[in-house]
């Protein structure tokens, strides 16, 4: 009980020393493989943090170690100055929203939500439960059983059941994975609203990059047990440091080039006969072979010979091999003279008609939007095949 009491006071005194979640050299090895490799991570208090990666990248294992459902092979987990690496799950000021919700089928919604409070010996919880059900807009459903509710409602119950305990860290294990697309978008905004309202630290595990970008303040992209890159969503998207991040977070055109070297604030790279200058802070390699990366929506396209509104080099000699109209934009595949197909997204501003397949086109982009990666990495890393 004293343990619970301590954590109780800790949550109620946010003005004290920082209660960041710190993972240091966290490792989890199984008999046949290593799920998480020497992970270092700091999740700042009160932030919405997303752990993004494909299935099997170790993100759920990391989450379960923080929850105490999995014991790390080595490394430590700290909450502020308190080490919780080997604490039992029921002694941690951490709650989880499980992937399948894991609602107790024998208890009604109100009792599910009150479960954590009752276990901590808080008897008079009627008002808290009512408030929490109001927050997730389920007041009228309090006496239903979980099986009588829809997936979206169950998801909100799971959230309420965890949030009511005012954990220092709320862990969300793909909480929206089972919902259909439309409901998922709605719940993303809802989750973000609730997080802002309650101001708790959220650690959200997901394989949906759009979900992570919509909600999180900070994203850590995880792959094969290590964090590839961490930062604000736009930072990660605009300036990926590895081919995996470039491909997993959105889509990228990666063009092989020879890096000529640094010149002041620029790094020069020779690509298919032309020289491109990449800002040094976007160049993650400075010699040898490199991948020049450019996002499809940053590439400008025009019929051969027509002017393009861009100061960069115009690359000629391409032709359209595929067109798909997706409403807000049109996606072109353009076969370049050196045989590579590049992706180009163009806004449907109505300024020009759609270019049909076979059209000869010129393309261009602003070099400051490009990024430069080390060519030792697989250009196809992180491309989802499903």
């Amino acid at each position: 009980m004293s343990q619970v009491h301590e954590t109780g006071t800790a949550t109620r005194a946010p003005s004290g020393p920082s209660r960041d979640l710190k993972l240091a050299q966290l490792t989890k090895e199984y008999a046949t493989f290593t799920a998480v490799k020497a992970l270092d991570l700091v999740v700042p208090q009160g932030k919405f943090f997303a752990l993004l990666g494909p299935s099997g990248c170790g993100k759920t294992t990391t989450l379960r170690m923080v929850a105490g459902l999995e014991t790390p092979t080595s490394g430590t987990i700290h909450l502020g100055d308190t080490e919780i690496t080997y604490d039992k799950p029921y002694k941690r000021p951490v709650n989880t929203v499980f992937q399948n919700y894991a609602l107790f089928p024998h208890l009604n919604i109100a009792k599910n939500v009150a479960f954590g409070l009752e276990r901590r010996g808080i008897k008079d919880h009627k008002k808290q439960v009512a408030d929490m059900l109001e927050l997730v807009e389920l007041t009228s459903q309090a006496h239903k059983k979980p099986t009588q509710m829809s997936g979206g409602q169950q998801q909100r119950v799971a959230l309420a059941r965890a949030l009511i305990n005012q954990p220092e860290v709320l862990l969300l294990d793909e909480p929206l994975g089972a919902l259909d697309l439309k409901l998922r978008r709605g719940m993303q905004l809802e989750l973000k609203r609730i997080q802002t309202e309650v101001g708790l630290t959220f650690v959200h595990v997901t394989h949906d990059q759009e979900e992570a970008m919509t909600m999180a303040d900070t994203i850590a992209v995880m792959n094969q047990g290590v964090i590839e890159q961490m930062g604000a969503p736009n930072e990660l998207y605009e300036n990926p440091r590895t081919t995996f991040v470039a491909n997993f977070l959105g889509q990228s055109n990666l063009i092989a080039g020879e890096i000529e070297g640094r010149d002041g604030d620029l790094v020069k790279v020779r690509v298919q006969g032309a020289v491109a200058s990449i800002p040094a802070d976007r160049a993650h390699s400075e010699s040898g072979k490199g991948w020049l990366g450019i996002r499809p929506e940053k590439v400008l396209i025009a019929e051969a010979g027509q002017p393009i509104d861009a100061p960069g080099d115009v690359i000629t000699g391409g032709y359209v091999t595929d067109v798909s109209f997706v409403g807000v934009s049109t996606q072109y595949m353009v076969k370049m003279p050196w045989g590579q197909e590049l992706m180009v997204f163009e806004q449907n501003t109505g300024a020009r008609r759609m270019l049909p397949v076979g059209t000869k086109v010129d393309i261009s982009w602003r070099p400051e939007f490009a990024f430069l990666l080390d060519a030792s990495q697989d250009a196809k890393a992180g491309i989802e095949e499903d």
Binding site: G68, K88, P89, Y90, V94, F98, L103, P105, G116, R119
Partner: protein, 310 residues
């Protein structure tokens, strides 16, 4: 029928019920074998038992019985055998509780801890059924015999004194021919009927719910009582019924392992029917036992409120 096709039906209800009639009949055909079986082996014997319980008690198998609607049979039988009835319920109750405790631990271990030994352990639970019920009970006679090692071990450990204290044995340091032996026999013989339904419902408990209870500040023990146990209630109810009902009517254990002082109602019924030929009293006693058990079961199932769980 064909002439009305395409014409608005005069009575929509009639056409609505006629359409699926073929399918409805299939249902009745499928019920038929079971219904016949029940008729021949349950309804008719039950009727004859009920009739026998109202025969004139002055009759005998030689002279025949007169149907005199003698309801006094029930009063007489209850009055004469209430000791045995009470003992049956007590012994069966203790055996059921012991089965529940032992069986729950076993079923829990098989469901959650056995890993790849799961199937082997389940086979071992059923294995005793490969030998005759009678034979197994007779071997308990050897195991609990006065010069056997169980008795001497129990004496050395002063377990016999403990059993004496709670009245399960008498003071002569024996195990055989005591209530203890009868209850032990009942527990042993009906344990698989407890373990299997318990296992079936524990097996269905989602391990993630147990994790969730831990995440929500329930220690493993509290998590068990708040989540695992409530979710296994259907198995508890099924197991206790499957154990208690046959145990309350059992007479083999009391006969082979007990003494005249441990006779259960099953022994009395058997004795009345086969030795004394008092069909009226035997029938009345059987009906009384049945009514008591049915009433107890209904009360139990209603209290346990399992319909919400299944």
């Amino acid at each position: 029928m064909t002439s009305t096709a395409g014409v608005a039906p005069a009575n929509p209800h009639e056409t609505a019920t006629k359409a699926p009639r073929g399918r409805k009949l299939t249902g009745y055909w499928l019920i038929l074998p079971g219904a016949l079986w029940l008729l021949v082996f349950f309804v008719i014997p039950f009727y004859s038992l009920l009739a026998a319980s109202l025969f004139d008690p002055k009759g005998s198998p030689l002279t025949g019985y007169d149907m005199t609607w003698h309801f006094g049979n029930f009063v007489d039988a209850f009055d004469q055998y209430k000791g045995q009835i009470g003992r049956s319920i007590l012994y069966a109750g203790i055996a059921t509780l012991t089965c529940l405790v032992v069986g729950y631990v076993l079923a829990y271990a098989i469901a959650f801890k056995a890993g790849r030994w799961k199937n082997l352990m389940l086979v071992l639970v059923i294995a005793p059924f490969f030998t005759s019920f009678l034979l197994r009970t007779l071997s308990w006679k050897l195991i609990l015999a006065d010069d056997g090692w169980v008795v001497s071990a129990a004496q050395t450990l002063h377990l016999t004194n403990l059993l004496n204290l709670i009245g399960l044995t008498s003071t002569d340091d024996r195990l055989l021919a005591t209530p203890f032996a009868v209850i032990a026999g009942l527990t042993y013989n009906f344990l698989p009927f407890m373990v299997l339904p318990l296992y079936a419902s524990l097996e269905k408990v989602d391990i993630r719910l147990i994790e969730a209870s831990g995440d929500l500040y329930a220690s493993p023990i509290r998590g068990f009582f708040k989540v695992t146990f409530p979710l296994s209630l259907p198995g508890v109810v099924a197991g206790t019924l499957l154990t208690f009902i046959p145990a309350a009517g059992d007479y083999v254990n009391a006969q082979l392992l007990g003494s005249p002082n441990t006779r259960m109602v099953g022994n009395s019924i058997q004795n009345l029917f086969t030795s004394q030929g008092d069909y009226a009293a035997a029938g009345a006693l059987s009906v009384i036992l049945m009514v008591i058990i049915v009433a107890a079961v209904m009360l139990y199932v209603r209290t346990a409120g399992t319909e919400e769980l299944v």
